[in-house]
Symmetry: D3
Subunit: 239 residues, 6 copies
């Protein structure tokens, strides 16, 4: 039987770690095949530490960032990580890239999709990525696009926690208990040598969401990852 | 082993039928014990047809409304229906009533709570009921209130669909598939002889939410009931 | 044939002048009977200039404010002005007052209702008045309240422009052309001797809304009064 | 004397039927000349049933969709229907198309404009169409664009009801009574052979908006069509 | 010369520590006189640990909580701490209490006011406190209230960070650098023996707001405290 | 020592006068060097009066508009005004222009940035300008963009008051006292011969914001300019 699949669309090559590492590791640990698309390396805008090294070049930054991301993906149990190298700050998103993402949706038929918040005044690439990921999802549902293929269903989309949630009009309505896989997420975080200042920041985020998860349920949990679901949750029980 | 329990707090004695009949019947059919509190009979503000009968009195309206609600509750499989007779248009909510509802929370420890939307420009009693139900839930969590009792946990609260959703700033984020129990909900609806003009209206609501439920998932379903969850959903998987 | 009627519910005895004087004069000039209810005189919180007079007393403030309001009402062509003297800062609103306002709705069956914005961080009485006026409107629609009377229909409610609109989450969706009656509104404004600092302020408001009215239509107009309609506008043409 | 005119900008060739058929038929029945622009046929994304036929091609889908739309337009009394064939899923909107729409605004000087909601997480083409239609309206107001032509005034813009209103942050503030022309709208709906599953859905939408229209007024009406007005309504009376 | 003054209105006797301890210590360290009003002890709803002790009584809880709060206040350099003992879960707010708070505003003429967020689905007392504190501020501005006293000016109001910010529709627009007084805030936090589980939580809050403060400026800072300003900031420079 | 600098990004060549003239003159009067970028002349969409002159051409409009803007800039004490001539209605914004603005950010390192509101249903160029100005600010913060240059810090961004604030979802949270430089702003306004109908409009805006500034503080002031700050204000005191 085919494995369950999920798709993560990440603007830069580290976003999936900070923002969705728990969800990835958790589902991977249950046998899911999680595909991560990194639209860019964050080579210009999210690699400050590397650029402080003398003689640094764009290619070396990309190579280093790819290595970090691959090691993190491995720590999380990612099934497939793809680097599309579309440039960052700004990210350049063409119709060809859109159809490439549509092809990927059609190839893996993800059961859910993870991507960025729809607004972010601190980052122009993140909302652009979300719009792109949602647009591709809709095209993948179109019967007239490559009509010989099976169309995509309606996988739910969950939006990552942005760096400063309240400024991004992002409101979490799902908290995932990632306590069982925190060690894996933290191992992946530690692969991000270029952004060491964020390690503690996102550890604290995990702990705060853990406390809040416990507060919103009767579950014992220590680490959480929060998401905003875009679509209504269709259920067969309210429990 | 004790049955699972749920609590429905309804401003008037028919609200639980139109707005939550599917959820009640569905959980009852799985062995849940659902308690319904009707804070009033809707005797002044939601009984127009009865008042058109000559010689009608407030007491007769209440008696008729109670009968209708009891028959509907029976059709849905309600475990316990309580009529608090607090008056309607306006509903009068005292601290005594608040503590009475706290006692009920503590007595049944519901796994979830259903009540009205937080705003409604067409109805003053509905938002008042929600504020009251949420306030009681919070007091029931307080260790210093009747400290010898077990405090309430953190049951999720789901808000009913109001009559004109967009005017009430109510956004559904949960759609419950009530197809398996639609016959029971419709039987309960037909007990509401005094509001026959609403039978078709809420049948259409059920069908529209059914289409939308199917559209937001890959589930085949015909009838839906939509809710707005107040609190984040704490989960162990995103699937 | 009975005249058309309208109802204005004003927290303090000057609010109806600044905020709705144009609408009142305009409809009065067309033969409408406009009733104004002043829940208080604004005697404590909106009479700074009077209180600066030596030896001023609460009763003298009320008397002066009533005189001003009566003269303004006369300038506008108000049919009936009522002073309920419920106190201000804070306004005290009992169930008796609620039923008194219900009686008034039932007595005049207004074709539309004007009252304050639903939020105002600068004024506690204004939102309280709106909640009260809307609540009474709903009770007046209840068939079981004084069932021998004719119930109220569904008159639209328009919310006045508050002093600092953007801080009150008030968004105008109706702009009334009050150019033909500006002279009457300004005459009424000049009756408010105790708040002379506001004369120019509200003249400028009228001019700005006039420019905006012209900008949103092809109408030539100089003075406008803006409102937020609470309910959808039911129409037989979009022109 | 020149007839009154209106403009409908529809992303796909069926949208104007479901969403604005009543408004079109109603104004046409009063002698208005209504122009409908279909930016695409919805040939890829909204023609599932056609694509299930063996050997279907893009051209055949377009031809079928155009036929359906023309028959529907005829049933509604549309004055002019234009098919711009700009592609769908995604819709491709160039500056040339923008200026073409500006020309159309300048040619017909519509008294009002109908188009899609500004947000829709289920459809990428709908919000793009609205942005495009509003942008063209603004350019048509610019005195320096083809300065020899008469500039456009300020026709109001009304946004169609989207498929899942609450998810689109769309709030109706206008309900049009379409009872007198429902038979025409339903005849037009029945021309949409490719989307038969939506016939009942949009019939129920018409009935629900009809009930709500009656609830928000004292008008007897059975079928309604709801819109969100973008701009304030400039009026000479509040009645 | 009179010292500068500030007023903190806290629903329960620990809130001022977690939520405003930094602001209090910072201003106290500059010679400000900060007055803290604790409307209740949080004796019923926020003293779980104390209630787990055998034989605990309401009076003992209050005594313990008062002691903790006094020690914390001392650590922060609070000028005056008042315990109004109005009960919690629910908080009971009468007109007498309102006028008592008005008297306090008039007595100290605070330069700014700190209180809770305006919404909180987890806590009923917090929004009630804010409404009360803002209402009293407005009454204190009324010339007719105790006309022999000097009226209050327009001190800005800043809303504390609630426990789960995004669920409370609270958006920080001010971040205060509390790095210089963090040791005092942490000392005060440690006085709250009854809520030890929150020590680390609010330390992490301080660190996250510190990172965000640095991110939104070019200031080096480690600990921050975030607030939502209710009113526009009136300034003489944008720098 | 280098002067303080500020950057104003204006869609059309008059916007900086109406919307930010006070801020510019105020800071210039204190020795700041303010740079103004006019992305277009507003030659097509905001020059109605010029286009009414017989024989007018696009080039003459641009020349006239540049002259007006230069005289206004001079009256305000602008340090550097740049005309990028990118076209208006629609404004055309390429990646080259984006990098040009990034270069400017890097060249002057502004202490704050002024630009348009993020939404405006009356104007398509204004929100496009804001998105562009904010995007360039973010790219200017990227270490990998021209890595030999010093990266931009985090200058606050303040959004101008749009023509119809409430329709643009713009909420002022900063009011600048421009009383000391009103004469300069009014002199600059009078340079805008082509838009004389706006002189009084924006004078009244200045007076209304002046009254509101006084109302929100204890400052005596006559003229104000209101802004919406995009980012939280990082402070070392709340006074």
């Amino acid at each position: 039987m085919a494995a369950n699949t999920a798709l993560v669309v990440s603007a830069h090559s580290a976003d999936f770690v900070w923002r969705a590492g728990g969800a990835i590791a958790l589902h991977a640990s249950k046998g899911w095949e999680v595909t991560v698309v990194c639209l860019s390396y964050g080579e210009r805008g999210e690699s400050a530490k590397l650029w402080r090294q003398p003689g640094m070049t764009l290619d070396r930054v990309k190579t280093d960032r790819q290595g970090e991301a691959e090691r993190a993906a491995s720590a999380l149990g990612v099934h497939d990580i793809q680097f599309w190298d579309l440039g960052d700050y700004p990210l350049t998103l063409s119709q060809d890239s859109l159809f490439r993402l549509v092809d990927l949706y059609r190839a893996i038929h993800p059961k859910f999709v993870l991507t960025h918040s729809t607004r972010d005044p601190y980052n122009h690439d993140h909302p652009a990525t979300t719009d792109f990921a949602q647009h591709a999802r809709i095209v993948a549902q179109a019967h007239g696009h490559n009509p010989e293929q099976k169309v995509l269903g309606a996988p739910p989309v969950f939006l990552f926690e942005p760096h400063q949630p309240e400024q991004c009009a992002w409101t979490p309505n799902v908290i995932l208990d990632i306590t069982p896989v925190w060690d894996k997420k933290f191992a992946a975080i530690q692969c991000m040598a270029g952004q060491e200042h964020l390690w503690e920041y996102y550890t604290r985020v995990g702990l705060q969401r853990g406390v809040q998860g416990a507060r919103n349920s009767e579950r014992k949990m220590t680490y959480g990852e929060a998401y905003e679901a875009v679509f209504p949750h269709v259920v067969e029980t309210l429990a």
